[in-house]
Symmetry: C2
Subunit: 452 residues, 2 copies
C-alpha cells in the first residue's frame, strides 16, 4: 500500500483560502493519508505568526501583565478562518475554552509555555480536519498522544523516543482516509505536552513519515523548490531538481533555510524520499531529496553561503612536533562550551572556525588567555567577519577541475580567498572570504557553475 | 666587531682537496672566526660517510663481531687526508689511539656509541685546525666542552641548555683568529659526550652562531642555493635568492632537504641571517635566509613536495554538534603515539593527515577499531599513497589569484586534487594529490609560478 505524508507549513495554512488550497491537494491524491499541519503563519510580509502571539500571551499572563489583547488577536484569527470556511461557530468556542483553560492552568511556567505554544498547531489541525469532513472527506483530527508520538521530557527541545515508530506504523490501518496531525509537539511518558525546537512541524512530518514507512514525505511550503543559490543574492536562480540527503545537509549548514537544519533526520535514517513543493503551485515538480542519485556531468548541485563566522588562530613554533596540542586546544574550547566548525591546520598553525554567536568579548578574552598560558602559544588571535561558502555536489572530490573553476570565479570577482578546505568531505568544498565580498563571490560562482 | 660562523658539511671536508678549498674560504674573510666542521662525507656518489662506518665499528665491536676492517677503513681515510695535506704522521697515531681507547672503554653501549659517532667530527676538526696552522693561520681546535656546549643527557638526541649561550659568547674574545669546533655533539653536565640527532653539525653551527651573536651564519654545502622546486623533478630550476625563516620551515617540512629540518632554530630565535653557499662555488651569492624581507610581486618563493602520507578519514552523522569529538579523536591517536600533520574537517567529517611511517598494519587496525567503538563513528577508513605539495611564500594569504593559478596548473596537468588546505598558515597553501601524479603536478606548478 503506497502511502504519503504531506506536511503543510505556516503560510500554507495561514487562512481559509490557503486551507482550501491544501484540501484540494489532499483530495487530489488518495495516498495522502497523513497530513501534518503547522500553526497559521504569515498571510503577507508584515503579518504575525500565530506561534509568536501565543508566546506573547504566555509571557504576559505569566508576568501578570495585560494579556487580553493577545488573546483577542488569536481568537479573532481563528474566528476568521472558521467563518470563511463556513464551519459551525461551536468550533471557535471550543478553541477559546481550550486556550483559556491552558493559560489559567496551574502548570509550572516552562510546561505551560510548551502547552500554549502547541495550541497554534493543535487548534489549526482541528479546524482543518473539520473542514475536510465538511466537504465530504473521511478525515479525522489525531492528537499526537493518540498517534503515539512519545518524546523526551525536555521542554522546547523534545527528542523522539524509538517506541513511537511502532505505534505510528499501526496508524496505517486506521479506518479514516485522512488523519490530520498537528505538528511541533509530542507527549512525554509522564503525559506532558513537550514541543520540538522551532520549525518543529518539519520534525513531526519526518517522524510520521518514518513511523508509517511512507513512500514519500511531501513538504509543502511557499517556494517552488530549493534553489541552486540564495535568491536574495542572485535573481531567479536555477532550481535544484534532485539532491541527496548529504548534499541537502551540506547546503542547509551554510544558509539554506528551506528546512529547519536537522528536521529531516528521521526520514533520512529510513531512506524515505522527501519532496519539497509549493502549496501555491502544486503542479510544479519541486525538489526531490533522495538517498542516492545518478552521477551527473556538472556535479555541483548548489552553492550555499552564510556569514557570522570567525577564526581563532593559534600559532606555535614546532607545534606539529607537540603530541596532544590539538587535543588540549579543543579541550579549552569544550570547557567554555564552544563548538567549532572546521579546523584547518598548518605545520605550526591551527585555525578554528567558530560561529560568532557563541562568543562574547569576555569569553573570547578568557579563551585566548588560556591558550596563551596553558598551551604556551606564540600567537593567538581572533578574526571576525568571516563568510563561509560551501560548493556542494556528490562526486565533487573525484571530479578534476572543480577547484580551478571555483578559484577562477572568485579571483575574477576580485575576491581574496582567506581559506580553502577541500577533501575532508567528499560532497563539498569550503571557502572562507570576508563577509563584505559575499554577494560578488556568489554571483561569480553562480555564473561559473550554472550559467556557462 | 663583525663576526661570522662558517659551517662546512660532510662533502666540503671529505678529503684534502676539499679541506684546501675551505681553508681558502676561511682565509678569504677575516671575520670567519668560528668554523664548524662535519665528519668526512662522500667524495663521490658511491662513497661512504665516516659517521656510518663509525656506527658499524661500534656495533660490531659491541657484538664481539669482526670490527677490524671498519677500524682500518677509518684510519686509512684519515691517513690519506693527513698525508695529502702534508701534516705530520704523529697526527694519525693520535687519532688511532683515540679511536681504540674509545671503543675499548668500559662505557655502557649507548654512551660509547655516542662517543664513537662524535669521533668523525672531532678528529676532522683536529686535522683541519692543524692544517690551518701549517699554512700560517692563527687557528686552534676547540673541543665542545671547552667551548661550553652543554646539552641534555639524551644519547643521540641532545638538546642545548640555555647556559651554553653565555659561555659561547665569551669565545668572541678568544685570542686565536680561527676556532675550529667539531659539529654534532656536546657534553652533558655529567661530562658525557652526547650527540645531536642526525645532521647535527647544522645544529652546532646554529648554536654557535646564536651564542657568539654572529652577524651571519654561513652554511657551506655542495649545492649552489636552495631551489624553487626539487631539481630531481624539474631540470635546472630557478634558485631562491632570499627567503624568510617561515618560508624555509614550510619548504623544509615537505621535502626540501638542504637542511636538517629544525637545525637552524637557535639561529632563527636570535634573528641571525643564514647564508646557504657552495664550497665548490663560493663566489656565488647562494641563498640568504632572513627573518623579514620586502614584499615581492610574485610572492611564491618555492614549491615543496613529499610523499609518504596517508589520510585517516572519520565520518559521523551530526559530528559538528558533538562537543569534544575532535579532542577524543586526537586522544586516541596520542595514546598510540601517532602525531598528525593536518586535520581538514567538514560538517560531519574529519580527516587526519599522518606520516605513513608512524603506522603499522596492527596499529592502523587498533586505531580504527577504537574510533569505531569509542567514538561510534559511522565510517572510518585510511587512504594511503598521498603526496603533499606546499606552495610557499610570505603574503600568499593576502594575494588574490594564487589559488586560481595553482588549481589551474594542477587541472591542466590532469591531476585530481584530493585535498586543499589554505588559510591556516599565512605563508603556505597545501594540496594533497595521489603520489603517482607528483612529477606532473610539480612540473606544471613550476611552469605556472616561475616560467610565465
Amino acid at each position: 500500500m503506497s502511502v504519503k505524508v504531506a506536511k503543510f507549513g505556516g503560510s500554507s495554512v495561514a487562512d481559509a483560502k490557503q486551507i482550501k488550497k491544501i484540501s484540494t491537494i489532499i483530495l487530489d491524491d488518495p495516498t495522502r493519508k497523513f497530513v501534518i499541519v503547522s500553526a497559521p503563519g504569515k498571510r503577507h510580509e508584515n503579518d504575525f505568526k500565530m506561534t509568536d502571539i501565543l508566546i506573547l500571551l504566555a509571557e504576559t499572563y505569566n508576568n501578570q501583565d495585560v494579556f487580553e489583547n493577545y488573546l483577542d488577536i488569536i481568537i479573532k484569527r481563528f474566528s476568521e478562518i472558521i467563518t470563511d470556511l463556513n464551519l459551525p461557530s461551536t468550533l471557535i468556542h471550543e478553541i477559546k475554552d481550550t486556550i483559556i483553560s491552558t493559560i489559567s492552568s496551574d502548570l509550572p511556567y516552562v510546561r505551560k509555555l510548551d502547552a500554549i505554544k502547541a495550541l497554534g498547531e493543535d487548534c489549526n489541525a482541528k479546524v482543518i480536519s473539520t473542514y475536510l469532513e465538511s466537504i465530504g472527506v473521511n478525515a479525522t483530527y489525531m492528537n499526537p498522544k493518540d498517534a503515539g508520538i512519545v518524546v523526551s521530557n525536555e521542554p522546547g527541545n523534545a527528542q523522539i523516543l524509538q517506541e513511537s515508530f511502532q505505534s505510528l506504523y499501526e496508524l496505517r490501518e486506521h479506518h479514516c482516509d485522512v488523519l490530520v496531525i498537528p505538528g511541533f509537539f509530542g507527549y512525554s511518558k509522564e503525559g506532558h505536552i513537550v514541543t520540538f525546537s522551532r520549525g518543529g512541524s518539519d520534525i513531526t512530518g519526518a517522524i510520521v513519515a518514518a513511523g508509517v514507512q511512507a513512500n514519500l514525505y511531501e513538504n509543502f511550503t511557499d517556494v517552488d523548490s530549493v534553489f541552486t543559490v540564495n535568491p536574495n543574492i542572485v535573481n531567479n536562480p536555477k532550481e535544484i531538481k534532485t539532491l541527496t540527503y548529504k548534499e541537502m545537509r551540506e547546503l542547509s549548514y551554510a544558509g539554506f533555510s528551506v528546512f529547519h537544519d536537522e528536521a529531516l533526520i528521521p526520514a533520512f535514517r529510513r531512506s524515505i524520499p522527501v519532496a519539497i513543493k509549493n502549496t501555491n503551485n502544486p503542479s510544479l515538480p519541486g525538489t526531490l531529496v533522495v538517498s542516492e542519485k545518478q552521477k551527473q556531468e556538472n556535479c555541483v548541485v548548489g552553492i550555499a553561503s552564510d556569514t557570522g563566522f570567525c577564526t581563532l588562530y593559534v600559532g606555535k613554533y614546532l607545534m606539529n612536533r607537540e603530541l596532544g596540542f590539538g587535543r588540549k586546544l579543543f579541550h579549552i574550547l569544550e570547557n567554555e562550551s564552544v563548538s567549532f566548525e572546521h579546523t584547518p591546520s598548518g605545520i605550526d598553525d591551527m585555525s578554528v572556525i567558530i560561529r560568532e554567536h557563541q562568543l562574547t568579548p569576555e569569553k573570547e578574552a578568557k579563551i585566548m588567555k588560556k591558550i596563551k598560558e596553558e598551551l604556551k602559544a606564540d600567537t593567538v588571535s581572533i578574526h571576525h567577519n568571516l563568510a563561509i561558502i560551501m560548493i556542494v555536489g556528490e562526486g565533487i572530490m573525484n571530479t578534476i577541475g572543480i577547484a580551478k573553476k571555483a578559484t577562477t570565479a572568485l579571483t575574477d570577482a576580485g575576491v581574496n580567498i582567506n581559506m580553502i578546505n577541500q577533501g575532508s568531505s567528499d560532497v563539498s568544498m569550503m571557502f572562507g572570504i570576508n563577509a563584505e565580498d559575499i554577494d560578488s563571490a556568489i554571483q561569480s560562482l553562480y555564473h561559473e557553475f550554472f550559467e556557462n
